[in-house]
C-alpha cells in the first residue's frame, strides 16, 4: 500500500503535499479542517453571547464588543463553518459517488479552498486590528457604511475572497457531475447527495454573484467614496437589502440541500431499504432550489415594499413547504418497515426530522406577512433560523461526519462518545432555542446587548444559556472523539455500514486515483445491486489501463496570498495612500501567478499500467 510510504515522509514533506495538493480528497480534508476551526471560533462567540445574556443587565462584555460578537458569530457560522464543512464533504464524497477519479478542475478546486481559508483568516484578523465588524452578519446599509473603524472593511474583503472561492467550487462541481459520471451513471441513478451537490452548485452559481456585487458597492462606498447607499447624494440603502437577500435566501438552501442529501444517504443505509420516492426527492430538491430564488423579499416584509409585493413573496415562501413536506414524508416512509440500525450517524438523522419540522413550521408562520410584523427582529426569528440551520445543517454535518469518517480517514469514530455527544448536543440545542420562540413572542428583540429584569425574560434566557453550555460540552466531546479515534479508533473496512453507493466500493481511505478501473453502474444504488446479485463487487467498465492524473501546484496558494495582501491595501488605503503599494504588490503577485499558470503547460502525469498491476488491492 502506498500509505506506508506516506507515513515515512517528514512533516515538511506532508505540509508541502497539502499546500500543493489538487487531490479532491485532500482538499476535502483541508475544507473540513478549516471549517472545523472556524466552527470552534463561531461556537466560542456563541458561548460569549449566551454568557452575556445569562442574567438581566449583565455586563460580561461591552455593548460594542457584543455587536462584534453577534456579527462574527453569524458571519463565521454561515460562510466559514457550515458552508466549507459541506463543501469538504462534497469534495471527498461526490466524485466517489459518481465513480470519477477527480473533479473537473483540480487546480481550481485548490484555488477555491485557499480563497475560502485566507478570506476567513482575513476576516478574523479584524479582531487584532482595531475591532471586528459590528453591523450584523447582514451588514445592512447605512449602518454598515457608517460603522467606524475598519471592522466592516474586513467583512467586505474577507467575504469577497471566500465568496469567490465558493463560486469557483460550485462551477467545478457542476462540470464534474455533468462530464465525469462513470459509464451507466445516468442522472436518475445518481445518489441523492450527488444530486443535492449538483443543485446546490447551481444555487451557488446564480446566488453568489449578487453578493459579489453587493460587497463591491459597499466596498466602493466605504473605501472609495461612492454614493450607492448615501441618501444625501441620491443613494438608496434598500439596494443593499435586495442584493444581500437575493443572495442570502438561496444561501440558506445552499446550506440545507446538501444536508438533505446526507440524510437521504444515511436513512436508506441504516434502514436497509432503498430511498422511498427517489424521483420525488430529486424533483422536490429542484423545486426548492427554484422557489428559493423567488422568496428573498420575505426578509424585507417590514421595509414597506407594499401589500402586493409582500403577498406574492408570502405565497411563494409558503409554497416551499410543499416540496419540503414531500421530503419529510419520504424519509419517514424510507424507515417504515425497514430493518433499522441505530448508531451515532443514524441518531443525528433521526433527531433531524422532528427538529427540522419545527423549524419549517415556524418558517410558515413567519411567511405570513401580517404576523411577521409581530415576529420581525425578535428572538422568534432567532429561534426559527437556528432550528433550521442547527437542526438541519449542523445535525446533517455531524451525521455525515459519523457516516463518512471511515471512508475519509480510514477509522471509525467511537460510538459511545458519539452517542454521549449527540444526547448532550440534542438536549442542549432544544433547551437553548425552543424557549427563544417564546422570548420572541413576549417581545424580546434580537441583537440587543442586555434585557431588563422583571419583564418575564429572566428564566427563559437562563434556560437558553444553560442549553448553550450543554451544546458546548457536546461539541467538545465530539472533538475529543475525533482525537481519540484518530489514534485508537477501530480500523475501517472498505464498507463498514453495508452501504449501497459507489463510495463504499473503494478502499477506506481510497487510493489517490479512487478507482483502478472505472466502475460500470447498472442502476440506482449500484453497490447494493451487485451485493443482491451475489457478486458484491463492482463490475469494471474498462480494461486496466494507464490513468491520467493532474499535477500538484503551489500557484493557487500564491495567487490567494496576492489577493490577501491586496485586500489589506484596499482596507488601509483610506488611512494612508502608501497602502496603495500593497494593492499593486498583491495584485502583481496574483496576476503573475495567473500568468504563470497560463504560460506553463500542465499536461498532468500518467500512472502506468504496470504500476497499477503492482499495487495490490
Amino acid at each position: 500500500m502506498s500509505s506506508a510510504a506516506t507515513q515515512k515522509r517528514g512533516f515538511g514533506a506532508m505540509l508541502w503535499d497539502y499546500l500543493t495538493t489538487v487531490d479532491h480528497k485532500k482538499i476535502g480534508i483541508l475544507y473540513l479542517i478549516g471549517g472545523g476551526f472556524f466552527f470552534l471560533l463561531g461556537g466560542l462567540e456563541a458561548m460569549i453571547i449566551r454568557i452575556q445574556l445569562l442574567v438581566p443587565e449583565n455586563d460580561f462584555i461591552s455593548a460594542g464588543l457584543y455587536n462584534e460578537m453577534i456579527t462574527m458569530h453569524g458571519t463565521t457560522m454561515i460562510f466559514l463553518a457550515a458552508m466549507p464543512l459541506l463543501l469538504g464533504l462534497m469534495n471527498v464524497i461526490m466524485p466517489l459517488q459518481i465513480g470519477a477519479r477527480d473533479v473537473a478542475f483540480p487546480f481550481l478546486n485548490s484555488l477555491g479552498f485557499w480563497l475560502f481559508f485566507l478570506g476567513g483568516i482575513l476576516l478574523n484578523c479584524s479582531w487584532f486590528l482595531g475591532g471586528a465588524p459590528d453591523a450584523g452578519w447582514t451588514s445592512y446599509a447605512p449602518l454598515s457604511v457608517q460603522s467606524p473603524g475598519h471592522g466592516v472593511d474586513f467583512y467586505v474583503m474577507g467575504l469577497q475572497l471566500s465568496g469567490a472561492g465558493t463560486l469557483i467550487g460550485g462551477i467545478n462541481f457542476l462540470v464534474t457531475i455533468v462530464t465525469m459520471r462513470a459509464p451507466g451513471m445516468t442522472y436518475m441513478r445518481m445518489p441523492l447527495f450527488t444530486w443535492t451537490t449538483f443543485i446546490t452548485s447551481i444555487l451557488i452559481l446564480f446566488a453568489f454573484p449578487a453578493l459579489t456585487v453587493g460587497l463591491f458597492l459597499l466596498m466602493f462606498d466605504r473605501m472609495m467614496g461612492a454614493a450607492f447607499f448615501d441618501v444625501a447624494l441620491g443613494g438608496n440603502a434598500i439596494i443593499w437589502q435586495h442584493l444581500f437577500w437575493i443572495f442570502g435566501h438561496p444561501e440558506v438552501y445552499i446550506l440545507i440541500l446538501p444536508a438533505f442529501g446526507v440524510f437521504s444517504e444515511i436513512l436508506p443505509t441504516f434502514s436497509k431499504k432503498r430511498l422511498f420516492g427517489y424521483t420525488a426527492m430529486v424533483f422536490a430538491t429542484i423545486l426548492i432550489a427554484f422557489l428559493g430564488f423567488m422568496v428573498w423579499a420575505h426578509h424585507m416584509f417590514t421595509v414597506g415594499l407594499g401589500p402586493v409585493a409582500n403577498a406574492i413573496f408570502a405565497i411563494a415562501t409558503m409554497a416551499i413547504a410543499i416540496p419540503t413536506g414531500i421530503k419529510i414524508f419520504n424519509w419517514l416512509a424510507t424507515m417504515w418497515g425497514g430493518s433499522i440500525r441505530i448508531n451515532s450517524a443514524m441518531l443525528w438523522a433521526l433527531a433531524f426530522v422532528p427538529t427540522f419540522t419545527i423549524g419549517g413550521m415556524t418558517g410558515v408562520m413567519l411567511a405570513s406577512t401580517v404576523a411577521d410584523y409581530q415576529y420581525h427582529d425578535t428572538y422568534f426569528v432567532v429561534a426559527h433560523f437556528h432550528y433550521v440551520i442547527v437542526g438541519g445543517v449542523v445535525f446533517g454535518i455531524l451525521a455525515a461526519l459519523h457516516y463518512w469518517w471511515p471512508k475519509i480517514f480510514g477509522r471509525i469514530l467511537n460510538e459511545a462518545m458519539g452517542k454521549i455527544a449527540f444526547w448532550l448536543f440534542f438536549i442542549g440545542f432544544h433547551l437553548t432555542f425552543f424557549v427563544q420562540h417564546f422570548l420572541g413572542l413576549m417581545g424580546m428583540p434580537r441583537r440587543y446587548w442586555v434585557f431588563l429584569e422583571g419583564q418575564g425574560l429572566d428564566t427563559g434566557n437562563l434556560v437558553s444559556s444553560i442549553g448553550a453550555f450543554l451544546m458546548g460540552i457536546g461539541g467538545l466531546i465530539f472533538l475529543i472523539n475525533i482525537i481519540y479515534s484518530s489514534v485508537k479508533g477501530e480500523k475501517a473496512s472498505a464498507d463498514p455500514w453495508d452501504g449501497r453507493t459507489l463510495e463504499w466500493a473503494t478502499a477506506s481511505p481510497p487510493v489517490h486515483y479512487n478507482f483502478k478501473q472505472l466502475p460500470l453502474v447498472r442502476g440506482l444504488d449500484p453497490l447494493w445491486i451487485e451485493k443482491m446479485e451475489g457478486k458484491g463487487k463492482i463490475t469494471p467498465a474498462e480494461p486496466l489501463d494507464e490513468i491520467h492524473m493532474p499535477n500538484g501546484s503551489i500557484l493557487p496558494l500564491i495567487m490567494t496570498i496576492g489577493f490577501f495582501i491586496a485586500s489589506f491595501g484596499f482596507i488601509y488605503q483610506t488611512d494612508h495612500k502608501a497602502w496603495l503599494i500593497a494593492i499593486y504588490v498583491g495584485m502583481a503577485i496574483a496576476l503573475g501567478a495567473m500568468l504563470t499558470r497560463s504560460l506553463k503547460d500542465d499536461h498532468g502525469y500518467h500512472i502506468s499500467k504496470e504500476e497499477l498491476e503492482r499495487e495490490a488491492e
Binding site: 467545478n172 446566488a207 450607492f228 447624494l233 441620491g234 438608496n236 439596494i239 497560463s598
Partner: protein, 207 residues
C-alpha cells in the same frame, strides 16, 4: 510520450475545442461561469436602474451622453465579435495563421473600444465634473460601465497572452479549447454591451 496533441489535417477532429476531456470541461465550465456573470451584470443593471435619476443636482444622463461616440464604440465591439467568429472558423479548418490574424484584428478592435471608453470617462470628468463620487447616478454609471470595461481589458490581456504563447507552436488539442473559451467570453462581453447601449445610453437619452 505518446500524448502528442498537435494537429495535422488527417487527425483534425470536427470540434478541436471539445475533442479532449479537458477541453470539454473547459468549454462547459466557461458556460457555467458566464451564467454567474449574467447574474453579476443583472445585479449591476438593477442597481443602475434604481439610481439612474439620482443625480443629486449634478449632470444627468441627457446632459452627458452623446450617441456619436457610443455608436462608434458599439460598432467597434460588435465587429470584434464578428472577427472572433472568423478566427474560430479558421481554427476549425486548422488554419492557424488566419486564426491568429483574425484574433489580432479582434484584439485591435477591443483596444479601440477601450480607448474610446477611457476618452469618454475623461471627457465626463474634466468637462462636466461628473465623477464616481458626485452622485449615486455617477457611482452606478461608472460601476456598471466600468465593470464592462474591466471585462474587456481582462479579455484583451487574455487573448494577447494566448496568442503570444502559442505563436510558434501552432494549434493543438491542448490550446484549441483555450482559444475557443476566449471567443465565448468575448461574445458574452459583447452581449453585455448591447444591454448597456440600450439601458444606459438609449434609455438615458430619451427619458
Amino acid at each position: 510520450m505518446s500524448h502528442d496533441h498537435s494537429l495535422n489535417p488527417e487527425t483534425m477532429p470536427q470540434e478541436p475545442e471539445k475533442a479532449t476531456h479537458e477541453g470539454k470541461n473547459k468549454f462547459l465550465g466557461l458556460w457555467f461561469f458566464l451564467g454567474g456573470e449574467t447574474v453579476l451584470f443583472a445585479s449591476l443593471f438593477g442597481t443602475y436602474l434604481a439610481l439612474r435619476n439620482s443625480t443629486a443636482d449634478g449632470p444627468s444622463s441627457q446632459d452627458l451622453f452623446g450617441l456619436e461616440l457610443v455608436f462608434i464604440m458599439t460598432i467597434l465591439l460588435l465587429t470584434s465579435s464578428l472577427t472572433s467568429v472568423y478566427a474560430m472558423y479558421h481554427m476549425k479548418n486548422n488554419d492557424f495563421a488566419k486564426m491568429q490574424l483574425w484574433l489580432g484584428v479582434t484584439a485591435l478592435l477591443g483596444v479601440g473600444f477601450l480607448a474610446f471608453e477611457i476618452y469618454e470617462f475623461a471627457h465626463y470628468i474634466t468637462d462636466y465634473g461628473f465623477t464616481f463620487r458626485s452622485s449615486a447616478f455617477g457611482s452606478a454609471f461608472y460601476t456598471l460601465v466600468g465593470f464592462h470595461g474591466g471585462h474587456v481589458a481582462f479579455g484583451l490581456s487574455w487573448i494577447i497572452v494566448l496568442m503570444a504563447r502559442n505563436a510558434k507552436r501552432g494549434l493543438n488539442l491542448y490550446n484549441a479549447p483555450k482559444f475557443y473559451s476566449f471567443s465565448l467570453y468575448w461574445h458574452f462581453i459583447d452581449v453585455v454591451w448591447v444591454f448597456i447601449f440600450t439601458v444606459v445610453y438609449l434609455m438615458g437619452m430619451v427619458s
